[in-house]
Each structure stands twice: as structure tokens, then as C-alpha cells.
Subunit: 95 residues, 5 copies
């Protein structure tokens, strides 16, 4: 999975019929210091995450393995909200 | 998903037989300011999007999860047209 | 899909038994001006394309969705030959 | 697979229900000298690896082919712990 | 597929039980001149390739389509040994 920060949302009225009711979040990938790496992904939110939260994003076919995304044309899903990021025994991020 | 802008079309007469009748759009990936990042993808259009529109593109096996692309040798599909892109409470893009 | 130009061929006598008789083409990815981007892929040819032609390449599991590649250990297939590349109303490439 | 070093852990209380009880490890990709390349991945640990160990990470649908990850929305799994890395006849790394 | 050169091997005693007996090769991606591009992958060898050989590597789910790797948590397989690399009519590499 990739680690990122939700920075915004995408509104899309015209979309594949299977995508009705889905929330698309704009996620910027971050490094272990929480600094954006330049990468960007639009992910479906399956855990009720909000703008500003640090999250884990699963890509590819694995993004369809949640109840919400099963069988849908999406390739990125937020499947966890990060509480603590610990590196070399140091808590780099605490929610 | 990736966010991009449709900048053109690709005509391909000779192609896999399963691809008859499909429209291939040329999409340039953009950042949150709508500026091209340098990335490029040829995607099948499943939502009737046109040149100039900002769209979402699903890649990989997920690109085959629309009615149009089911079972076809395509790895990129336009599955939504972006209306609003909102970042940090600011509408960065409105269609 | 990615857009690229066929620049050569790869001969491989010793290979997985399912790959007997397949042609491997060497494809350099190009930008919208037909200029190489630095990317390179070895793709199975499913449409009879030849050296010098501009083609579309599907990657991943989608590369196995042609008759030729079904069930085979290949992750890239040439599934279309480009005739016209049109950007902003201008024909950038005509075969 | 990619080769990397486990540098930390991620705690995520709120996550997809299928992910209960899973350990998420923070892995930095390394080159053949064990030097970080800049890449980062959060992977599920299926072999009992710990911080500081050099491991192999499988990505994509293959990450779901362990008992632990079967059917789960994860796209990266640690499936081996590296004992020896030998290049050009020289042991570059010994655990 | 990607083209690369086998430069070494990885020994991993502790690994997923499905991986018993597999050989992991360290492959450096090369360009059309055989020069390393900086990319690196650990691949399962399904064709009896050895250190120093130029090979083709299939990634993702396609890496599981050989007898050896079927159903296993691996995302990269060596499925061919390159004999000749011909570009613009010139043999750039002959084994």
C-alpha cells in the first residue's frame, strides 16, 4: 500500500453507472515525514476518512476487494486510516 | 484513479477484433492545478467524454469492469468526468 | 494503453513452453510528437505490426485478453496499429 | 519482487473489516548495496519479519496469494526474509 | 515484458511455504545497449537462466502463469532467455 494525505475531493456527476454514490478523495502521497512526494491518486473511500487524514491506499485489483468496490471499475481504495507511524522506535506521526 | 485532460484521439483501423467500435482518447495526466505532469495514457472512453474535459482514468484489470470494456484487451478506461475539484476548501476546478 | 514505436525484435529460443511461436517486439514509448520518452517494453504482437510502426500496447492482465496471449505468461501485447494521432484538432501523426 | 528494509510500523485502528489483526510494516526499497532508493511501501507481513530486516515484497494481485492475505484489500506482502544477497560472486549482504 | 541482466541471487530460508525450492534471481533492467537503467527486480527463474544472461521478465499476475509459479505469491518471473536483440536491422546483442 501507499501512504498519503487526503487533500480534497472530486465531484463527478457523469460516471460509470456502477459508481453511483461513491466518494472520490484526492490523496497526495507522502514520505515518512508526512511531506508530499509529488504523487497523486484519486481513491474511493471505504472507511469514512476525511480531508487532512493520513491514510493507506491499495491499488490495482486489490482495490476491488472491499464491500463497497467489489466488481467496480476503480483501481484505488482507502482501506485504513493511520493512527501512528513509528520509525526506528520514534513516533513520526500520531493522529 | 489518475486525473487527466483529454487532448486528442487515436485512430487505429487495424486492431484486435474485440476492440471494434471503441474510441481511444489521448489523456494527459494533470496535477491539482490542471497542469500536465508529463504522463500520457491512451484510454477507452466509457462515459462519452470529449476533448478538453478533465476525467478520471482507471488502469489495469479495473479498466475492464465497465460494460464496454468487459473481457477486452484494454488497460485504461475513462470512467468519470470531473465537475469539481476541491482542495483545502477551495474549488480549484469547476467544469 | 501506452503509445510506442516498434524499433526491433527479440529472439529467444529458450522460453516458457506456452510461448512457442510468439513474436516479441521491442517497443520504445513515444510522446505525442513521436519522440522517445526513454521507456522500453518487450511486447507480444497480436496484430501483425512491423518495425517502424506506431502502436498501442496494453499491459498487465489485460495483455492476456487476446486469442494469442490467453493464459500465457506475458504482460504486454500490441493490440492496435495507430493510423492517426490527432491533438487539439491537428493531425500530429498520419501513417 | 522488490527488495527492501523494514524501518517501522503503521498502526491503523480504523480499517476495512477484513484487515483486523494484520500487521502493517513500513518498508524502504533498497539497491544492491542496501542503500534506500527513495521508494516506500506499506506491506502486510506474512513471515514474521521485524524492523531492520531485509525482505522481499510482492505487489499487486500476487500479494493476495498467501494464507494471511487471501481475498483481502492489500496490494503488498512481505513473503520472504533475505539471508544472503550475492552479486557477481560476492556476498553483498549476509544476515 | 522488461529486458534485464541476471547479476546475482537471493537466498531466503524463511519464506511463504508455497515458495519452497524456488530460485530467486536478481535482475538489473538494461536498455537496448545492455546498459543498466537503474531498475532492479527479484524474479523467480522458470527457464534455467544463470548469472550474466540477458532475459525477459514478466510482472504482475502474468508472472503466475508458468507451471512453477501457478498460485504462488510472486510478481516477477523470468520466462525467456534472450539470444538476439535486433534494432533497426542491427544485431545489438548476440548471446
Amino acid at each position: 500500500m501507499e501512504i498519503g494525505k487526503i487533500v480534497g475531493t472530486v465531484v463527478a456527476t457523469r460516471k460509470d453507472e456502477k459508481l453511483e454514490g461513491m466518494r472520490f478523495q484526492l490523496v497526495k502521497y507522502v514520505d515518512t515525514n508526512g511531506k508530499p512526494t509529488g504523487g497523486l491518486v484519486i481513491a474511493v473511500d471505504s472507511v469514512g476518512a476525511g480531508v487532512g487524514e493520513i491514510v493507506l491506499v491499495a491499488r490495482g485489483s486489490s482495490a476491488r476487494l472491499t464491500k463497497l468496490t467489489d466488481g467496480k471499475p476503480v483501481d484505488a481504495v482507502i482501506m485504513a486510516i493511520v493512527d501512528i507511524l513509528e520509525i526506528d522506535g520514534e513516533k513520526k506521526y500520531v493522529k
